[in-house]
Structures are given as C-alpha cells and as structure tokens.
Amino acid sequence: MLESLKKAFTNLFKKPQTISYPVGEIKKPKDYRGLIEYSEPDCIYCLKCEKACPPGAILFVPTENPSDNEKNKKSQIYEYNPWLCIYCGECVRACPKPQEALWQSEKKPNVATKGDRVNDGWFEIETLKKEGIK
Amino acid sequence: MKKIEVTLKNVVNVIREFYKPTKHHFLTLNGLAIDEQTTEIQWIFSEYAKTDEIIVFYVDVKEDDVIPSIVEIIPSAIISQREIVDMFGLKVEDSQSGLYLDEDSLAKPLSFGCAI
C-alpha cells in the first residue's frame, strides 16, 4: 500500500498527457493515409478502381465535353468524394498504372461547409450515372 | 465439418443422446433461406481440447412448422432461439419475439426475398 501512496504523490508533479490541439501540433507518422489524387492524361479508362471501391466513392459519369484522351471512348469524367472515402487504398492496388494515374498522397481532407453541398451534390452525380444525360 | 440430417420429431432425442456437458460445446443456431417456402435450420457443436472438430445437425422447415426447443438440455440456447424468431419469422416453442426488433414489428429481415 505504501507503493500506491508514493506513486500517487509523484504523479502530482508530472505534466499532463493531453495534447492541446489546435494550439499545439499533432505529429503525423510517416506514410500517413491521405487523399487520393488522379492524373487524367495517363488514365486508360478501364474502370477497375470504380469496381474495387467498397463504399463507392469513385464514379465515372457521362459528360458533354469530354477530354482529348484517345482512350476515353464513352465520353466519361472522373468524380471523387473525399467525405465518403475510407482511405483504404484498394483503388490504388487495383489500378494497372499505380503511381502514374492514381496514387495516395499525405494531405488531409478539408472540413466540409454548407456551400460544398456534400449530400445533394453527390446524389445528383449518382442519378446521372444511373440514368444518363437527359 | 460433419453434417448430419435429422427430422423435426427426433431432433430433441438425438441431441439428448449426443450431448455430454464436459465433452461437447454448443455454439449457436443458424438459419439459411433456400427459397420462399423452405428454410434450413442448423445446430452447431464442437468438442473441447480437440483440433478442428465441428458437428452440425440440420433440418428443412416450412413456414408453419413449430421448431422444438432444447432449453431443458442446454440452458444457454434460449437467446439463439429468440433470434431465429425475430430474424426469420418462424415459430419456436417457449420463445417470444422482441430481442432485436420491436415486439409488434412485421419485418423479417433475413427471410427470402424480403427487401429491407
């Protein structure tokens, strides 16, 4: 029992374990799992990343002004939702050109505000994929 | 994994002869929807201190059959039986609904073709 008393007494003089965020900095580890980034000229439009994503955060939807890439045969464009993504990296592992067309960076997503229209904007994109351009 | 088929009339006697409390371990009950009228019910056991030994008794039931209860032999089966009543909409002796869903709800999520 004396051990507990001594330990409780020395605990009075230690500094607290909490990190005072956002005044103090948080140390990110190496290889932090961040946002997915895409480079359009290298993409071959095989759609393997869309089939591999578990929550469905990558969609290729039809558009009226397609890009100049010769592999874009069905006039599609890439859409990504950083607030639905779980940052697992399955899309990068499924891509045939992993570090040129699609890769995982170390940036954090920004906080969503009302002007971003997080829910309504994504529901419109999903309806566009199911029904096509009217 | 060994699978043994039983009928609804003799399943209580088969389990009473087979089960010894210090040798066998009862895991759970399981249901599997095959088509709109048939469901397969499984009783799963394993043995203490043996590697990779799992024994399964199974039977096919229709919508109106009453499944007999094994609570007198194995007291801890009561909670698995109440789950079958909620999730599949079947009738089991001495078990009432209301474990996961509300007591007067009409939903049977795991039966065949239920679009919830």
Binding site: M1, E3, S4, K7, A8, N11, Q17, P29, D31, Y32, R33, A52, P54, I86, Y87, C88, G89, E90 | M1, P21, T22, H25, F26, L27, T28, N30, L32, A33, I44, S46, Y48, A49, K50, T51, D52, I54, V56, I74, P75, S76, I78, I79, M87, L99, Y100, L101, P109, L110, I116
Partner: protein
C-alpha cells in the same frame, strides 16, 4: 406471509455503464431474485447487408466496422473463411504479421477492461494510470498500419503494409517498458485492499455451472475449464511462438482480473518472439475465382470465441454470412450469476464480464 418485492432498473442510461444494455431487477431488501434483460439497442442489420448489397471482396471493410475494439478479429476471421473457399495459399510472413496485430489488440483491450473494473471499486487513480499507459500500444499500431482504431490492414490474400526495421525496433523497446508496468499492476491487484479484498467471493461461477452454460473466454478459464481456441485450431501459427494457457480456480471477480493480467504478459512474450523470428517473403498473393461451398471458422477474440459461417455459390454476392460474437453467448451465464447477489455489487459484476454491446446487436 410472502415478502414484498420491488422493481429497480439498471437502465440504458446509468453513470457507471459503458454500454447500452438494460436490466430490470426484482429485489427483496437489496438481494436480487429475478432478472429481465434487453439487448437490441444498436441493431444495424449487418448480416442482411453482407448478403444483399456488398460484393465478397469489399466485406472485410464492412465487417470491421461492427465494433471498435475487436475490429481486426472480425475482419481476419471472415478473410480466413473466404480464403479456404478460393484456391491459392497465403505466405508465412503475412500470417505472422496478422498474429502480431491481433496480439497487440488483445493487450489494449484487456487494459480497458481492467481500468473500468478498478474505477468501479472507487480507485480512480489506477484508472487514469492504466489508460495513460494504453496510449503507447495504440501509437505502435498507428506506426504499423496508419490508423489508431480502424486499421484496414487485412485483405483477401495477405496484408496491406509491410513492417520496416525502425518500426520493429520501436515495437521491442515499447514492449520491454510495458512489461515492467504490467508486473507493477500485478503487485497492486494482489496487495491493495480496494482491489483484492473487495472482490474475493463476489460474482462467482462454479465449474459445473460453467460447463452447463457453455461459458467462453476469460470467464471460463477463471472457473477452471481448460479451453482456448488458440490451441484448438491450426489455422494460425500459435504453437511456434510460445503460447500458454492461463487458468485459475475460484471463478470470482478477483480470479478473472488475474487471468487477464497473466494473459497480457504472455501476449508481450509472443509479440517479441514474432519480431525475432519473422520469415522472409512476399506479403500479398492474388487469389483467383469466386467462393463456392460452405465453411465454419473460429478465432479467439479478447472476450471469447468468435465464429463465422460463410456460404457462397460462384456469384459475386454471397448467400449467407452468420456471425456469432462472444458476448452473445455469455448473456445467459450472466443472467444466472446475478441471482442471489446484492444490488450494490451489480455494476462491478457487469464490468468484470467485459460486455461489448455493439458486437451483440449487430
């Protein structure tokens, strides 16, 4: 002349409850004589979603989100079940890395239970100390997998990230400091009167009752039954890294605390042996085909035995996924223990069972 009974609820909102569960006790003068329970407060329908909406290679990520503490055991158990229905083999290096994460998870889950038990005895300083030491284990898991709580580390065919040499030396350094702290806790739990005299003889489960109620996990091992899934299945390499079963005889709250402390020491030894004898090779192999047939696998989660039943028929969406969680099968045992105890001991008995309600009501 019959005695008058009153009904007292230990409701779903209570100051010392960590989990959403509700009991209705029928008491005569502070002794409990009858009990009724309600467990389905967080039912989300995961089993239905796994057989209607998600494809079979996305399900490890869905099933990990059933529970926060035992996330890696759910995802690993499903992955082992599906890999035996496809053709191909997983390398030894991937199996050793998977066992390393599961044992680190067991250490920090037992620390959470022990700190909650000592808070219910009134010893809050111990609660703060154990929670502070638990942060170092979660920092190790963040360096290995990239995240503190939901690891997303296991996928069908292997693991996602490899271990580097500076992370391996950091693991060994942290674990050797943790071993001295755990030996300090064992001394406190044996000698301090708030934790040892207070808990002897309360909430006892005898050996015959444990056999008849099919108890599992630390609950069964504290009553004297020698059962552990790590020695009853050969899917993971536990025999090569020094696993030992820990049992005690009495079955009360004091015996369960001791079983958890000695299991933590054994897990620390196993993690150090894994880092010393890690085999070389690849960490991922691609498995082809779609799952066909049915299989049952079992795994030892920190709270007991976890079972998965998977049935597929050569399509991308599976026919049936059945999950049996350890707290689900312990509920009949604890409804039996509460009879005959005093009402004031009820929160302490509930905390020593280590319930996880989000696993029970999936």
């Amino acid at each position: 002349m019959s005695k008058k009974t009153i009904n007292i609820p230990l409701g779903s909102q209570h100051i010392s409850l960590l989990e959403p569960i509700r009991f209705k006790f029928t008491c005569e003068n502070e002794t409990i004589v009858g009990i009724d329970s309600d467990v389905g407060f967080v039912h989300r329908g995961v089993e239905k979603a796994c057989s209607s909406k998600f494809k079979f290679d996305a399900i490890p990520y869905v099933v990990a989100r059933i529970c926060g503490l035992c996330a890696i055991t759910h995802s690993l158990s499903y992955t082992m079940a599906v890999e035996s229905l496809l053709d191909g083999e997983v390398t030894q290096r991937a199996q050793y890395l998977r066992v390393l994460m599961v044992e680190l998870d067991r250490i920090h889950s037992h620390m959470l239970c022990l700190s909650h038990v000592s808070e219910n005895a009134g010893f809050e300083a111990m609660f703060m100390r154990i929670m502070g030491d638990r942060e170092s284990v979660m920092d190790l898991q963040e360096a290995l997998s990239g995240n503190r709580v939901q690891f997303d580390y296991v996928s069908i065919g292997g693991v996602n990230r490899d271990i580097q040499s500076d992370v391996a030396s950091k693991v060994k350094e942290t674990l050797s400091e943790l071993r001295k702290k755990v030996e300090g806790y064992i001394e406190e739990f044996e000698n301090n009167w708030s934790l040892s005299l207070r808990y002897k003889g309360i909430g006892a489960l005898s050996k015959e009752e444990a056999y008849s109620y099919n108890a599992i996990g630390p609950l069964a091992r504290a009553s004297g039954i020698i059962t552990d899934v790590r020695s009853e299945s050969t899917a993971l390499p536990y025999n090569d890294i020094g696993f030992e079963i820990v049992t005690k005889e009495d079955g009360d709250i004091y015996a369960r605390n001791m079983v958890r402390l000695y299991e933590m020491l054994n897990s620390i030894t196993m993690c150090e042996n894994i880092i010393d004898s890690m085999p070389e090779g690849e960490i991922f192999t691609k498995l082809k085909g779609k799952p066909e047939g049915e299989i049952i696998t079992r795994l030892e989660a920190p709270r007991g035995e976890l079972m998965y039943y998977v049935k597929g028929s050569k399509k991308p969406i599976l026919d049936r996924v059945r999950i049996k969680t350890p707290t689900f099968s312990s509920i009949p045992a604890f409804m039996h223990i509460f009879e005959g105890e005093e009402y004031a001991n009820a929160p302490a008995i509930l905390a020593s069972f280590d319930p996880c309600m989000s696993c029970t009501a999936k």
